[in-house]
Each structure stands twice: as structure tokens, then as C-alpha cells.
Point group: C2
Chain length 629, copies 2
């Protein structure tokens, strides 16, 4: 008997139409926990190196964690993985909302979708009833419409949908997977994997509370959070939500502006959380079990750019990527751009950074109106932004190129355009400038999914005695300034990353500021495992290292962990004027982090000793046995 998990995996082969159930035993669950742990395990075991991410050999893996679907705050997360069409490496992206909890409540810890359908299908999971159904009539529809059609068709209001939008159907490498039409598994281009498989959606309805070892203890923890979250770091998410970061980052001089050319934006006041509350924000949505309600809902009545509540509203990342990064100081446009992305399944970060890249290319003459089909693609041109989003979705003109992401587009444009593609491993950098967060920059550098703000904490977690509280569980007891990139900062980054991955493994939302010990308490209560902070940390390292191993097998090298050149150039003005890690400094910090993590300096892969230390020497066997892609 397992608790916290069901011990059940659903495998669906789209080529054959066959579905099978597999048992996940307790040793497997203890070792790999969930999320990245499951994804890394199956990708390493089941994908041959070098396969085409958009080919039928790729797999799409839905993974929950022991907390997913538990009736408690933070239990609304699930993870999707595969081989990334954007980076060519490990893909994993997580989403909140209700889908993950519903999948778990349907009795499944994970779903592996393999093969590819000839014609569009969707997967309908109703508890243990599993069915592949035609999605011909849904193909091409926007996400909210698909949700609506599915509810009608299946006669079930309370189902939950994970789908690719039209962007994914058309294999945009910056396509995401949408849930509830508002919650994106945004990064690494997994929408295109769905599109390539002709899998329009995974639809679930579940009816059982996942098994819990100690329901009273778990409920007590859930109650503690409801009663006390206002006194934790979670409080800020319930007041100004993620949008507050506009003012915070502007204040420290690191609000990504005009494709990271600047760290301050003259129009930032128009993008702040306060302004959003006065203008576009009309309500607050939430995820499964969560009292924080950080999901702001926008509505804009307008003839040109109307915004409907059904697509939620922009978060900070979108305010940055569609706002300051494109030189746009209009929240209504930002909300509209957000709606276009959510309706069509485009990653707002990937799309915004790619368009900002194109804008810079345009301003620098690398792209002309001939390339843009007449669009005046300058920073600040809101109409051009919106139009370009549509063209990306339709893969029309320059949009067809930008749908490939900034790096591939830069290669095509040539003439040094790469220096304006602000990406790592092909994935665009999110709205957190490493020049005001040196530690965060190190974390996004080594992240196996490419630049990914979900896998590295911000330097505010390193710079004060209060900030490092969670790191004290790992013997980090002295804060360091944001622009420190010493070995001790690398230590902090290591544990910061692992705390993030730990949330991912367990299915816990990172906005829930449980202490590491509380997290261990939660997992103990849910699973009955005599787990502890050390055990969970090692599980996180296990998952992280499997992802690094996957990438090494695909040919990634330490050079791929470098920041793009621009982020090593000093910020030109503002509170952080002159700040940037030097290349030498960053390389030294990478070397330090490799040492701390037990990664080989030549390959970037975890060493055999490290893998053995984690009890997964089989990964070393695999790396040694498999020719590199």
C-alpha cells in the first residue's frame, strides 16, 4: 500500500491506441518522488538519444507529486515533460490550476503518452475509464473554446483540460500547454510536442481523495497554512501577487527593458500591480486548495483589444516580457497579448523575449520592413507586438521564424543576430536580470531546461539573514550581497535550486512559503515515509542530476551553461549601473557549482561518484553505455 501516491501510471500509445496501467512501487516512489523525478527517470530509460523532439519517438509525460491533489494549499501543481523542441534537451514545465489535482484524484500519479496519432485525438480520463477520442472538431480552436466544447461533449462541467493551442498544433517551439485556459506549463515548448503527436488535449475528471498516511496531520498542516500564511513569505502573493515584481525590479534597476538593453523602464509605473488593480484587474482566481488567490483576472472593454476574463490575466512575467521588454507601458495591451498567448498556447516569456529580440534586430537594421511584412517592429509599438503574436500563431511571414524561438531565428537572420537572442540553451530568459541577481543567473545557467526562472531562487533569498532562513537547513548561515559570485554564493545557489526542484518533485507550489522542515512534515504526513529534509534534498539532487545526465547524453556541454553575452555586460544606468558578473567571474562560479554538485568539468554531467551517492549509479551505467547524440 502506498500513500501520497496511488502507485499507478497510465501509459497511452497514440500510434496503437493502446492504454496500459503500470504499478509504481514504493521504492520507485521514494527514490523519484514525482515531477522531475518521474520525468527524468522515464526520459533516460525510454528515449534513445538524438531522437527528434517533434517525432513520434518523443514522449509526453504528465507527472504529479505526493502533494498534488491533496486538499491543501499548494497542492495544485503538476509537471509535464519530454524532450524539448526548443532546447533539444530535458523538457519539464509545471502548471498550477486544477488539472493536476484532478488527474491525481482520477487515480493516476503519472501519464506517459507515446507514439503519435494520425489524426487529432484527445485523451479522456474519467477515473479509471480511459479513452482516446477524435479531436478533429477541436483542432484549430482556441483554448477556452476547446474547454467549452469538451464540457458540452462529455456532459461533464467539472472536467479539467490540458491542451495545446493552435500554436502547438503548428509546432511553434515556444508553444506551451494550457490548463483551464489560464494556467500555462509555459516553458520548453511542450505544446509543440502535443501538436506533433496530434494530441489536442488530455481531459480528466476524478473523484477520489488520494490516499494519505496521516490525514489528521496533513489536515492540521493545511489548516496551519490557511490560518498563518499572512505571516509567511506567502503574504506578498496574496496582496500584490506576482505583479509587484515590476516595482521591485525597477527599484533595484533590473526590470528587463527593451530586450535586456536596460534595467530601468521609464514607463514602469503603468505596469505596476497597483496600476493593474486600478485598471485591468477585476477579480482574483486561485488554484486547487489555495487561499492565497494570486491569480489576478483581467477584463478590458475595448473594440480593438478587448480582454475577456476567461483567459485570466497577465502575471509579472508577462508584464515584463510583453511590457518593458518590448518597450510597452500599456497594461491593456499587455493583458491583450496575454490573452492571445493563452488562447493560442504560446509561452508569454518565450514569445515576448523572441519578439523583443526581433524588435532589437529591427532597430539595428538586421530585420527590415520587408522581413516584417511592413510592420514597424520598433520597441514600444503595441500594435506590432499584437500582430506579431498572431503571426507567430499562424506561422505567417516573420512569425513563422519567430515561432522557432529567438535562437533559431537568430541563426536564420545571421549577421551576429545571436547576440540579441537573450536565451540559454535556446530557451528565453525570464524577467529576472542576472545582473541584479548574480546567484539567480548562475541557477538559470545550469538549469537543464535552459533559462528557466522556476529552477533558481532570487538573490533576495541570499542577501539577508531573513532571506537565507530556508537555506539554514543546509548549513548556510551567512547572507551574501546580490553581486557576490563566490564559492559560498554558489553553495547558496545549489541549495536554492534544490529547494525549487523539491517543490516540483512533491507537487507543491513555490509560492507557499513552507519551511523545508514543514515540507518534510507534509511529505511524511502524506506518504508515511520517515522522510526528512536531507532525504528530500537528496531526492531533489537525484532528479536534478538525472536531467543533467539526460542533457549530457544529448550532447550538451558546460559551454551551454553560459549566460548570453548581454547579461555579462554592465547595466548602463539605474540603481544597478555598472553591474554584471564578468565572464571570468561567471565561469569561475560555474566551476565552483560543478564542484559542489559533483558534475564533471568536461561534460557537465554528474560524475559516477555523485550518481552513486544518490543511489542511482544506473544513470552512470547508462551514460557510459550510450553513445552521445
Amino acid at each position: 500500500m502506498t500513500f501520497g501516491h496511488w502507485g499507478k501510471l497510465l501509459r497511452v500509445n497514440l500510434t496503437t491506441g493502446k492504454t496500459t496501467t503500470e504499478t509504481l512501487d514504493e521504492l520507485f516512489l521514494r527514490r523519484y518522488v514525482g515531477g522531475w523525478g518521474f520525468i527524468g527517470y522515464y526520459l533516460l530509460k525510454e528515449l534513445a538519444p538524438g531522437i527528434d523532439p517533434l517525432g513520434h519517438e518523443n514522449k509526453l509525460i504528465y507527472a504529479t507529486g505526493p502533494i498534488t491533489g491533496q486538499p491543501m494549499a499548494g497542492g495544485g501543481r503538476h509537471m509535464i515533460g519530454g524532450k524539448s523542441p526548443l532546447t533539444g534537451g530535458f523538457a519539464a514545465s509545471e502548471a498550477g490550476g486544477f488539472f493536476g489535482a484532478e488527474l491525481k484524484r482520477a487515480g493516476w500519479d503519472a501519464v506517459i503518452v507515446e507514439g503519435a496519432a494520425q489524426t487529432p485525438v484527445y485523451l479522456w480520463i474519467h477515473d479509471d475509464q480511459v479513452e482516446l477520442r477524435s479531436a478533429e472538431h477541436l483542432w484549430g480552436l482556441e483554448t477556452a473554446d476547446v474547454e467549452e466544447r469538451l464540457r458540452e461533449e462529455l456532459g461533464e462541467r467539472r472536467l479539467r483540460v490540458s491542451q495545446c493551442g493552435p500554436a502547438g498544433e503548428r509546432l511553434a517551439r515556444i508553444a506551451n500547454v494550457m490548463h483551464d485556459a489560464t494556467r500555462a506549463a509555459g516553458r520548453t515548448g511542450l505544446g509543440a510536442v502535443m501538436g506533433a503527436k496530434k494530441l489536442k488535449a488530455v481531459v480528466v475528471r476524478g473523484s477520489q481523495r488520494p490516499p494519505v498516511a496521516d490525514p489528521e496531520a496533513l489536515d492540521a498542516l493545511a489548516k496551519w497554512f490557511r490560518d498563518n500564511y499572512h505571516q509567511t513569505g506567502s503574504a506578498v502573493f496574496s496582496t500584490l501577487a506576482t505583479m509587484r515584481m515590476v516595482r521591485v525590479n525597477q527599484g533595484v534597476g533590473g526590470l528587463p527593458t527593451r530586450n535586456f538593453q536596460h534595467g530601468v523602464f521609464e514607463g514602469f509605473e503603468n505596469l505596476t500591480a497597483e496600476r493593474a488593480l486600478e485598471t485591468i484587474t477585476v477579480g482574483r482566481d486561485t488554484c486547487y486548495g489555495c487561499p492565497i488567490r494570486c491569480k489576478w483576472v483581467s477584463e478590458v472593454k475595448s473594440d480593438t483589444y478587448p480582454v475577456d476574463r476567461k483567459y485570466g490575466g497577465p502575471e509579472y512575467e508577462t508584464a515584463g516580457s510583453m511590457g518593458s521588454l518590448c518597450g510597452i507601458d500599456d497594461l491593456e495591451i499587455v493583458a491583450y497579448a496575454n490573452q492571445v498567448c493563452n488562447a493560442n498556447g504560446l509561452d508569454t516569456i518565450g514569445a515576448g523575449v523572441t519578439i523583443a529580440f526581433a524588435m532589437e534586430c529591427f532597430e539595428r537594421g538586421l530585420l527590415t520592413t520587408e522581413d516584417t511584412g511592413g510592420l514597424d517592429l520598433r520597441f514600444g509599438n503595441a500594435e506590432a507586438l499584437v500582430e506579431m503574436l498572431h503571426r507567430i500563431v499562424r506561422r505567417q511571414g516573420l512569425g513563422d521564424l519567430l515561432a522557432e524561438g529567438s535562437l533559431r531565428a537568430a541563426h536564420k537572420i545571421g549577421r551576429g543576430a545571436e547576440r540579441y537572442a537573450i536565451q540559454i540553451k535556446g530557451q528565453e530568459v525570464a524577467m529576472h536580470d542576472p545582473r541584479v541577481k548574480y546567484g539567480h543567473g548562475l541557477g538559470i545557467g545550469v538549469s537543464p531546461t535552459g533559462a528557466d526562472h522556476m529552477h533558481s531562487v532570487h538573490d533576495s533569498a541570499y542577501t539577508s539573514k531573513g532571506g537565507i532562513a530556508d537555506l539554514e537547513s543546509f548549513g548556510i548561515i551567512e547572507p551574501l550581497p546580490f553581486d557576490d559570485l563566490s564559492t559560498d554564493k554558489a553553495r547558496m545557489v545549489r541549495y536554492g535550486m534544490m529547494l525549487r526542484v523539491l517543490d516540483n518533485l512533491t507537487g507543491m507550489c513555490m509560492f507557499h512559503m513552507w519551511t523545508p522542515r514543514q515540507k518534510a512534515d507534509i511529505i511524511r504526513a502524506a506518504t508515511g515515509w520517515p522522510t526528512d529534509v536531507a532525504d528530500l534534498w537528496l531526492a531533489a539532487e537525484r532528479a536534478y542530476d538525472m536531467a543533467r545526465a539526460f542533457n549530457a547524453r544529448e550532447g550538451f556541454r558546460p559551454e551551454d551553461d553560459m549566460l548570453p553575452p548581454r547579461l555579462l555586460e554592465p547595466l548602463p544606468e539605474g540603481p544597478a549601473e555598472g553591474k554584471a558578473p564578468t565572464e571570468e567571474q561567471y565561469r569561475a562560479a560555474l566551476a565552483d557549482l560543478y564542484g559542489l554538485m559533483g558534475w564533471d568539468a568536461d561534460t557537465g554531467a554528474p560524475t559516477r561518484a555523485k550518481l552513486a551517492d544518490l543511489g542511482i549509479a544506473w544513470v552512470a551505467d547508462l551514460l557510459e553505455a550510450t553513445p552521445r547524440a
Copy 2:
């Protein structure tokens, strides 16, 4: 303000007679915690490599932990360290009883004694009153007599004494440091360091409860233990104490017999705990704050070998080393031998194994009656055993040689005598045969103090689901058989060792079967640190690695981690007949453990990356800057 510790170190220079007080700040305390952590820190910082352990440059360090002196079970431990006269490397030995608690209650976390006196002195610490006094009148006295004289002289019944006996005065390298005349800091020859410094004793009287961050929480934990220890692994210590191991080890075929030539002893029944209770055991003593009362007190009324209660009674190690190991099946003799050792400050393990070595040399003709001064030094000759102990203390005849320990004696005897010296790094192996505990054997191999049963858990902690419960805190979830020596066993050994060192750091007795999480709870309550299992584990690694670094600087090499050849030869009979790790297997396991621990395969020292990972890159700087001894 610090809690758990006072933040105060006393430094006493015997050459100058000067005493100074130093402050230990919170960062230092968090990082090094106590015990080995303090000892390793100061030895690395303050001892030049290559110094003579018996010279004035050596230092004698008393170190407590945050639990020492707290009014709770297990809080009666303190550690003594220095450079070992026996191994030439890191010396640390711990003791129970009341001395450590008293030292802590006197307001001191640690004492460093440096230099050497011209004439015998003792150090009298009465709270913050510190005085060096003449010990001329105590020199040469047996330990209980010294205790008595000090009580009279200082007019204080409740003082506590840490002293070298006559063996230490005469620089026997197997001399220990005695407390309460019954509790030995037995290993690594620290009694000789006291003798060399002409420091007869450290005498303390304290009157204050150490500061505690959360007294209620700590008291609740203490109460929990008093109420529940019978339901924990500690229960066995309160029933048959350590002596039960005679039957256990005989049962598995690993009761060290006749200098480890055998693993079963025909006379074992006469050495069992049950037999002790019927014969020599007349009472039960305890340590500070402890309800277990595992310290059995012996009394034997006899004209030839009378045993007095004041010297306590033999524990398992002594029943083995003076009993089966010497082929002697007489508990009265064992108790008498124990008394000779306690009265004179000889390590019963070191002395017993060294005499067993000599017995084998005698039986094999490497020693003759000419060497032994007429003694028929055969296995089983109880009179010869007792006489040889006296001669070691007096350094008379062959005793003068054996006082140097088995390895030095073997070198002197020559003709291949080394193969009968059952030691690692010069320190004698305790009564746990690695051939029935392969994992334990790996742990005693790498222990920085040489073969030391205190730094490696027994394989019973690895072989069953219940056994590995504590290791589950570190992701170890599958038991392995005792004769497994795979990489996964090495993982277990790693964490087993760290749990032991963690007890040492914190000042907690290892017979108190708190879970790792409870230990973290205790340290949190005592210190107020937001510590956790991971943090404490890392602190243990820090301490362990400092000790390894100290040894590497002194010229130790991986070869020094090998088991003596005999322990790689199959046991000839009994339940474990044919069992022993092969040399190849053991070397492979060492290599695995090096990898897991982050130790360099060539030097055996922790790598810079590992030390950086622990936040003590300064140790790497030191190793690189210091020429090897």
C-alpha cells in the same frame, strides 16, 4: 547571545602558566558545533604538521557539544582531542560520566591545554575560577586515589576529574584519559599527551545550567525519552547493557577470539551478560542525566584478584579484549584486568589487543620466555594477562614495548610480526570483527582515528528494514546483507559514520536511540538554530573531513585505510565460516566510499570542491599551503 553553548573557550598554557578566555561566536558554533568539530578546527589551525605528539607543541583539547550538560538523557558526553601518540594522526576520544556535563556547567564549551609543565600540575576549574596547581603529590597515584585526594584537598565532594593514570604519566601510547575512575576516553593514547604535558588532571566543578533557547521543548524531549526509551533501541542497553554483545557476536560467528584468529569462542558462555549478572555485577551506575543505567558495577571478593566497585566494571569491549581475544573465559579476571586498566589509565581495547598480539607472537615463537621475563604468555593464561598489564603500566621488560601499542611492538619484534598486529593506522581494532560486519569494517578503515568502533555503526543497522530506519533520513531505503560491500553499502556506511560523528559533535551518547529528526529537534531546542537533519549531517561531514584533512597533512595515505591482512582472511569456522571481504572487494568499497565522501583517490583528503561544499574552503587553502609532514 548563544544558546546550547556558552560561547566560551578556556585556553591554558602550561609552559607559561597563563590562562585566557576566548569567545566562540555563533557562526563558529553553528559551523563546528562541538566535539570533533572544535577539535579538528583547532588542530588544523594551531598545530604545525609533523610535530611530536608527546612534545610541548601538541595540544590537548576538551570539547563539549550543545547537549553536553543539558539535563537530559545522553547529555553526559565530552570529547578530548589532540595529535595522537598512537597513530600520529587526528586523535579524539569521547567519554561519558559526569565530567563533561560538569565542565559545561562550569561555563566552558571547550578547553585547550597547550605547552608543557616542568613539574606535575593539575588544572582546577571552578566555574570561572581557573587555577593551575601542583600535582607532585598525585603523580604515580592510581585514578581512584587521585579522585579521593583531590576531593579532600579542594574541600569539594562534587568535583569531577579527568586524569591520566600512571600509564599516561609513563607515556604509554595506549594510555587513556579516565573520568570518575570509571569512564575512559579510551582511544588514541591521549593519556600519554597528558603525561607528556605533566598534566595529571583537569578538575572541574560547575554550578550553572547551560543556556537553552527553548527550555520547555528541551525538557519535553528529555521527558519523552525517560517515558519511552524502553520502546526504543535504547532498551537493550538498560537490560543486558553492552555485555549482551558477547552472545550476539558469538551467535553470528564474530566474537573476536585469540587475536582475531577465530570468531567463535568455546568459553563464551562464561563471558556473557547473563553470567556477569550472576557473578561479578553488583550494581548499575549511570551517566549525567541518563535513565538507561548501562554502566554495570563489578565487585569480586578475592585474595588474588579482588575487584572494587570504585573502578566500575567491564563493558563488552573489555569482556572481548581481555576475555575471548586472549582466550580467557573468566569474568573475574576480566573484571580485574578492567580494574588494572581503569586504575592506571590504560585503554582496555588497546591493551587487550596488544597483549593478544603478544600472545600470538609467543605461541608462534616470535617471542620467547626470554622476552617475556619468564611469563608463559599463551592464550588463556590469565595470570600472564594481568602481569603483563602491570608491566605495561610500569613499562617493565616486554611491557615497555607493548606500552607502545601493537604496531610499534611488531616493528620492533620484526620477522613478520606485523601480520599479528590487528590495528589500523596503529590503533587496535575493537571487538567487532569486520568479517561479520563488512560495512563496519569499511567505517573503521577510514576512521581518522584509526580502528575505532565509535565512528562506524554495525551492520545490524544496514541489514533490515527496521535497522535502516535512521538511514531513511538520507534516502537509504533498502537493507543489504552484512556481507555486501557494494556501492550501496558504502552509501550506508557513509551515513552511518556521519550519524556517529553527529552524536559526537552534539555531545550526545550514541546509546540514546533518538531518530535523526529528534536529534535535530534537540539541537533546535537547545541552541535556537533553525537546524535540521541536513544541516547536522553537513556539520558532521565538516568535522569528519577536517579530521581527514589533518591526517592527510600528516602524511596519511589511502593505503592507511586498509584493514589488517587477517581481517581479510576468511573466518575459519562457525556461523560465518569462510566470510571475509576480499582485498579487491574492500579496495573497491574504499574507492566507492572515497567517491561518495568526495575524497581524493590519491591523497585520501577531501577535495577542494568537497570542502567548499561544506563551507570550509579554508581547509583546502591550508592543505595546499602546508608542506606535508
